[in-house]
C-alpha cells in the first residue's frame, strides 16, 4: 500500500515544479533604452560569399572587408563614363 505521506510529498513536488515553471517565462515587452538601437543585429555585407549571388561580376574573399571594398570601388568607378570614352 502506498504511504499517504509519500503521496502527499510527490503531489507537492509536482505542484511546486509546475508553479515554478511559470517563473521561467521570458519578458514579453521590449525595454527601450533612449538613443540606442534596440533591434536585431545585422550581417556585414563582406561576410557573404560572392558565389552565393547570381549575375554579379564582383569578386572578394568572404570575411575580408578590404577586398569587398576594393570590389565595390571598381564597380563604383564604372559609373564614370569618362573612363570609357577616353
Amino acid at each position: 500500500m502506498i504511504d499517504p505521506r509519500k503521496l502527499f510529498l510527490a503531489g507537492a513536488a509536482i505542484a511546486v515544479a509546475l508553479g515554478l515553471a511559470a517563473c521561467g517565462e521570458r519578458d514579453q515587452v521590449t525595454v527601450y533604452k533612449q538613443g540606442k538601437y534596440q533591434g536585431k543585429p545585422d550581417n556585414k555585407p563582406w561576410e557573404n560569399d560572392p558565389a552565393a549571388s547570381l549575375y554579379t561580376t564582383s569578386k572578394w574573399t568572404p570575411g575580408d572587408k578590404t577586398s569587398w571594398e576594393s570590389a565595390l570601388r571598381t564597380r563604383n568607378l564604372a559609373q564614370n563614363e569618362y573612363n570609357r570614352v577616353q
Binding site: G39, P41, S53, W60, R75
Partner: protein, 207 residues
Amino acid sequence: MARMKFLCDAERCIECNGCVTACKNENEVPWGVNRRRVVTINDGVVGAEKSISVACMHCSDAPCMAVCPVDCFYRTDEGVVLHDKDLCIGCGYCFYACPFGAPQFPQAGAFGLRGKMDKCTFCAGGPEKDLSKEEFTKYGSNRLAQGKLPACAEMCSTKALLGGDGDVIADIYRQRVFNRGKGSEVWGWGTAYGKPEQRAAPAGAKS
C-alpha cells in the same frame, strides 16, 4: 571606406523615372510606396526646368534616427541608415522629421492603415540573414552583399544619379564639372543657404 551616398546631377537628369522603376522592380516595393521619386522644378519653363531624383539620403546625423520612439534605426559601417521593421510601430515621427520625405507608409487595408515604415535601404537589405527570403520580403534586395551598388544608380541611363562611396562619386562629379565648365554651383553651402551678399538682414536689426 567613406560613407555611402547618393548624388543626383540636375544637369543630366531627364526625368525618365528609370530610377523609380528600377527601385520598384529590384525591391518589389508595394503599390502606393515610392522609395525613390523624381522631383521637377520649373516644369515646362524652357531652360529653367531641372529634375532631381530623391530618396533617403542616408544622413550622417539622421533626424529619423533621433526622433524614433522605439529606436528601431541603426547605421551600418558603410554609413547606410536602416531600420528594424519588427520593432517599428508605424507612428510616423520619422516621416515628419525627414527633410526629404523618405519614410513611406503602406496605405493598403480596409481602413487606410498606416503600416510599418518603408524606405530606401541603399539596396542593403535589413536586419535579417543576408540574401534570405525574410530579408527580401521585409526590406527588398541586398545588392551590397552581392558586391553591387543600388539598382537605381547603376541603371541610370544618363548617369545623372550616382551612388556609392561619397569620395568616389564626388570625384566623378568634380571631373564632370571641370569638363563642362559648370555645375559646381548646383551644390554647396551658398546654394542651400544663400550667398553672403544675398543674405537679408534680420528684421529689426540695427544697421
